[in-house]
């Protein structure tokens, strides 16, 4: 910390608005503001907001969070200089990244910004650094956001990782940006499995017709499949999302799997989970290939020939509105 930096604290609990007035004959440059916002007694939903007021009392700057806090809920809010690398170890730097970080339930976020030649891919959320296993090329032109994508055929990710993410909610959403013209019978976007028995979780793929499919597994390693009908192997970039929801996540009752393409619902399919909810232990996650444990060696099979970008995993069922917003943010 530089000698001219200061940290000011207000220990009291006060009702909004809470003001800090720059004292006479002083000049400061705020670098970070943090606060706990308690909405227990709130009259309605709200946006925690930082404002700057001129000496005349006019609001000249306003920074609300992008997430609404419902009445009765609370939030720990940080206003960062987002391009300051010292503000956070994994600072969001773009509207897309900010939206992903602000979406509740984020567990893993491989931006795939990693430079060409990098042996790993960084997780900007949970520290789950992935490994490049074979013929993957980083440093491709971006599909979403302003960052680089990852090109196959090959695979990247994590194998045999227990407790990789908090999946105890037994709900999930995965998002990835895809650009491909592949027509192979099976082209895997992501594969979640381990060498452990009953370690299967989900298998996300594109068929030769360019349709998105997903198989999710229950706690007994029984797979339940579904597929959409929107064609995505047209050489254009698409945001692909899959959500899994259930009225009873523990038993899987009322489970529905939904595929979204570019923020638009492709299919919502009831899933018969057989009395056992979504698998939630012994996970590894790989991008761009199928990897059936030792059977497929170190490099997997059914590799995707195409570009992937901005893979994000949530332990919640994102809504259609949230996916519309994320798709829009990725096209700025």
């Amino acid at each position: 910390m530089a000698s001219s930096d200061v940290v000011l604290s207000a220990p009291d609990v006060v009702s909004v608005p809470m003001d800090y007035d720059v004292p006479p004959a002083q000049e400061i440059v705020p670098k970070c503001v943090t606060a706990t916002i308690d909405g227990t007694g709130a009259a309605g939903a709200f946006l925690p907001t930082l404002e700057l007021l001129s000496p005349a009392g006019q609001v000249i700057f306003r920074s609300p969070t992008s997430t609404v806090v419902v009445a009765g809920a609370s939030a720990d809010v940080s206003w960062f200089q987002l391009s300051n690398p010292q503000a956070s170890s994994t600072p969001p730097t773009t509207p897309y990244e900010t939206l992903i970080f602000n979406t509740p339930g984020l567990q893993l976020y491989w931006k795939l910004d990693d430079a060409a030649g990098s042996p790993t891919i960084a997780d900007s959320k949970g520290g789950n650094t992935g490994t490049i296993y074979d013929t993957v090329s980083l440093g491709q032109p971006p599909l979403a956001d302003v960052t680089s994508g990852l090109f196959g055929a090959g695979m990247a990710g994590l194998k045999n990782v227990d407790a990789l993410v908090d999946q105890t909610t037994r709900l999930m959403t995965v998002i990835v940006w895809l650009k491909t013209t592949a027509v192979a019978a099976l082209n895997y976007l992501a594969w979640a499995d381990t060498s452990s028995a009953n370690g299967r979780w989900f298998q996300w793929f594109m068929t030769g017709a360019g349709h998105i499919g997903m198989t999710v597994f229950n706690g007994g390693a029984v797979g339940v499949g579904m597929g959409g009908s929107v064609v995505v192997n047209d050489g254009l970039k698409h945001m692909i999302a899959f959500t899994y929801g259930a009225t009873n996540p523990v038993t899987g009752a009322g489970a529905v799997g939904s595929v979204y393409v570019d923020g638009v619902l492709d299919t919502a399919t009831p899933l018969a989970m057989g009395g056992s909810g979504l698998a939630f232990t012994n996970h590894g996650i790989l991008l761009g290939a199928q990897w059936r444990n030792a059977a497929d060696g170190n490099s997997g099979i059914n590799k995707l020939a195409g570009t992937l970008d901005e893979f994000a995993l949530f332990n919640t069922t994102l809504t259609a509105a949230q996916l519309v917003a994320i798709n829009a943010a990725g096209r700025i």
């Binding site: 800090y20 720059v22 000049e27 308690d38 940080s78």
Partner: protein
């Protein structure tokens, strides 16, 4: 457990005396302040562009200077 949220803070937000930083809660539809919301544990980290030897002058009202990270 409070949900963690982040938002932007412009770089080089140079504030002279008389300016005010305000933490508030706004209705997303109307922009009006929402009643009943409380704020606590507020911390501002800032560069002091005044004389470092007068950093104590930054204390104002209920605010106190606290040790920062090394």
């Amino acid at each position: 457990m409070p949900q963690p949220l982040i938002a932007d803070l412009p770089q080089l937000l140079d504030l002279d005396s008389g300016y005010t930083l305000r933490i508030t809660a706004l209705d997303a539809a109307t922009g009006n302040q929402v009643a009943g919301v409380q704020v606590s544990k507020v911390i501002i980290m800032a560069a002091n562009l005044g004389d470092p030897g007068t950093a104590g002058d930054l204390e104002h009202g209920d605010w106190v200077l606290v040790p920062g990270p090394e």
